[in-house]
Every structure is written in C-alpha cells, then in structure tokens.
Subunit: 285 residues, 2 copies
C-alpha cells in the first residue's frame, strides 16, 4: 500500500526508521506528470533498493522568470495511482512553502559544469536543481537515487555535487526512454501542437545520423554539429537552442571526438524546449 | 581511547555504525590550535551526545587570498593529546586533497545573512564555511554540532544553512570563553605582540560599556556605535574593521534597539583581526 506524504518531518521519520531496519532506500526525484521515462527510473530504483521513495515536486527555483512554472502539468492523483501499481512505497509531495520557508536563502551551486549547454540558456536552472536535490537528499537520506540520461548535463551536475558535498548517495543513471517514433519522453511533450509533435522526431533522427557519422570515423566535432544543424533545420517548426559536443563528465566542448563524446541538443518547437542527446563513439572494426 | 581518523570513508563508516547502534553523535568542527574556548564546546557536545567527533581542518576556502591560511597555527599532536583527556571519541583530520579533490566545483552559499559584518570584509569567507560544514555534516552525519557564539554571524549562517538544506543537524550555540582580562579566546590571539595583547582587552571593555548603556535605556544604535568607536579608539594599536548593531538571526542593521540587538565588532591589532560581540538588552526594572 503506497503512502502519500507531504510533511517533511514525517518523510524523514519514515526514512530514518527504514534505514535503521537495514533497508536500502532509493529516491527518484520527479516533477510529476509521470510518463514511461519516469516509470523506467522507478523500475531501476526497485532493482537497487528495498524501499522506493518517489518525490513529486514542481520546483520553482529551477524555472526562469519567463519559463513554464505555472503551466507545468500537475496531475498528482493520477501519478499516485500509477506509482501504486509499480509498488512504490512512498510518494513524497511537499508543498512549496515547506521546501522554501520564509527567509530561505541557501543555495548549492556547481561551477564550470553548469555554464554551457542548458546552463547558458537557463542561467539559474541548475542552481535550483542542485539546491532542491540537496534538500531532498537531506530529508529522505536515500542510499541511492536515479536520474535519467535525457538530462545529461543534470546527471553530470548531480553526480559532481553529490561527490563534492559528500552526500553519500549513489547516483544511478537511467537510459533515455522514447516514443515509437524516437522522440525522447518528456512531460513537456504534452505542450506540442499536432504539427510540432509530427516534426519533433527530427531531433532523434539527426542524432542517430550524427552517431553513424562518428561511428564511421568522422571525428571533427564542428563538421558533425553543422550536419545536425542542417538536418534539424529541415523541420520548419524547429528552432535550435544549442547543439554541442562535449566531454560527458565535464561538459567541456570537444573538437576531436576520436575518443568519444556526448552530442547534446536543445530544440524549441514553439515555446516547448526539447532535450535529447547521444553518445558518439567510433565503431571498432 | 581516542581514534585519529583522516580517511573520509573510515570516518563515515565509524559514524554510520555508531548511529545504527543508537548512539547520538555530536560534531565539533574546529581548525585546531585548540584553546579553552574549543574545550568548552567539546564539554557541551559531551553533555548532548554519546559519541563526540572533533574535526580539525584548516579550511583553505574560508580564507581570502591575502589572509593567514599558511600562517594559521597547526599543532595536531598537541591537540589530539588535549582531546584525549576530554574523552573525545574521534579526531577527524582529513587532508586538503581529500576534502577538495581534483575538479571540486560545488559551493554552498547563504545569501543576505552573509553580506554584512565579516562578510563585507571577507567576501568569500562564509561560502568556505558553509561548504566545508555541509561536507563535514555529510561525512559524519552527526545528530548535533556545537558552534561558539564568538563567531555570531557564522552561528546564524550555519543555523540558516542547516535549516534551509534540511541537513537534520541540531545546531547548539556555546557561550564565549574569555581570558581573565576579558579578551575573547581565539587561536589568532597567539599572533598578538605583547603590546597588542596588552591593549586588546579594550574590545571587551567597550562592549561591556555599551551593554550597560543599552541596559540603562539608550536605544539609538548610532549613539552606541559612536561611543564604542571612541572607546576602542583610545587604544593606539587598534584599527576598527566594523562595529555593527544587528538583529541576531538575520544580521540586519538595527537603529532602535529597544527590543534587544547584537553588538558585533571586528578590530585589527596589527595584522590580527579579532572578533567579539555582546547582546544588548534593556534592563527590566
């Protein structure tokens, strides 16, 4: 039977008791509006732990002033039903006022790693992510936590933060889950108009094409970026935010990708900003 | 028998095992060069916990580029002997490279509270303090930690950070401990020349005088600040860094102190910067 908990102290108490019993606790932090991508994270959490906590919190500090905080889809009851069928133990749904009480003034920042890619377009985004994740780790004190590879920069940032602050949580990466036509699953896909939705798979197609080029020996990042830009440009509704080829851990731009790299993109369809990425590596033959 | 531990994982392991046994763990974070002030913190820790961990780490990130990081007194063996006589369970003495490994790039900052007083003179100081304290809390996972009231702003900042990040550590304030002539104990007192040492008690004398004025009904902060400035100015070797009257929790300057306030000062004697503070409150009569 799933427990729905919104009180921070109750959540801490449950988690503390489970730890004392020797249970391994895994946290899956989400903003709700759950889709198959989230469910795959939760299945991975279940494989790694005795007790699975899923947090649902639309975190205001990771949204910029003109972003979609108010519009972000909220469907907590449907989400809770879904989680129950997956055997999740606790859904943690704190309210904004308890996560950010009066006088809240502490932030966790990761330098360097957060400056390019999404950090360039969304300058306060990662500060919001690292702050709320530190808080969730403090409240739940999980042994592990699962983060999806779709948000590749977020994964690198959270790993770095967890190591740097000695938070003692194992960060488990989870593969990207896709629609049948290749579009990476995202709660924001629900914003897409039918026309935008039809064109959006161009992102994945471009990445797969780039990966094929890299596999066949093209090792100049700027060549690959140009090809991806042109291919995404074939879609009349796509507006590129960034196309970058970076080192996976440091998120530093790479020029020669002979030793592998991450190709990461953000593309707007209308107001909807979609992320995707793919590993580039030379085929061994 | 005291244990001296420098390895982070060993420290975490000991602490985790003690927690599972049901022990309450108290951490006293220090930079070593222990004096009676530290010892009083440790005695308070012993009263609040079953298991006392004292960390000794001269934290480079809380020193500015032209400050006394290299000169800061280090006497780890003597400190360990002292701690053994106090019944401390573990001295945690990590090295700089393990606390700040290659690629370290995560910082914890408290806004607002850190901007005045010491934060004005030492702009990166509190970021260093909050970052290392978050790390020490992550490694040791104490139930409580003791911080001295001499560093009143640090105490307020650490309390705020601990609450804001849900670190789950009770912060216990400890009274200021003084030399016989009233000088607040500090590892930095050892820097003072004999002449400077003779004059340094003017700080405490000025604060006591101010508190007497406030007790007798003077409630204009600027009047009290002027009197303190003049009184400290009687010492030929004193150079005032700041004299501020603030609210104790928010560290915001106050003008009318009818409802109580904190008078905090930093004064240089030569290159040595000394802190002290006192509560101002109207006498009830």
């Amino acid at each position: 039977m799933i427990r729905i908990v919104s009180d921070i102290d109750v959540m801490s108490g449950i988690s503390h008791a489970k730890s004392l019993e020797g249970d391994r606790i895994c946290l899956v932090p989400t903003m709700g509006a759950l889709h198959e991508g989230h469910l795959s994270l939760i299945r991975i959490a279940s494989e790694h732990a005795d007790y699975v906590v899923v947090s649902i919190f639309v975190n205001p500090t990771q949204f910029g002033p003109n972003e979609d905080y108010d519009a972000y889809p909220r469907q907590i009851e449907r989400d809770a039903d879904t989680l129950e069928t997956l055997g999740v133990d606790v859904v943690f749904t704190p309210d904004v006022g308890s996560i950010y009480p009066d006088g809240f003034s502490t932030y966790v920042t990761v330098e360097g790693l957060t400056e390019g890619l999404c950090g360039r377009s969304r300058p306060t985004h990662f500060r919001g992510v690292t702050t709320v994740v530190t808080k969730l780790f403090g409240i739940v004190r999980p042994h592990c936590a699962v983060f999806g590879r779709k948000d590749a920069q977020q994964l690198a940032v959270v790993k770095r933060m967890t190591r740097d602050l000695n938070l003692g949580v194992e960060i488990i990466p989870a593969p990207i889950v896709r629609e049948e036509d290749g579009l990476a699953m995202s709660s924001r896909n629900s914003y897409l108009s039918p026309d935008e939705r039809r064109q959006a798979p161009i992102i994945r197609q471009s990445l797969v094409y780039a990966a094929e080029l890299a596999a066949s020996g093209v090792n100049d990042a700027s060549v690959i970026i140009d090809i991806v830009r042109n291919k995404i440009g074939e879609s009349s509704l796509a507006k590129i935010d960034y196309i970058d080829i970076v080192d996976q851990d440091e998120m530093i731009p790479m020029h020669d990708i002979s030793n592998g790299a991450l190709l990461a993109v953000a593309v707007f369809f209308g107001k909807t900003r979609l992320l995707d990425n793919i590993i580039l590596e030379r085929r061994n033959d």
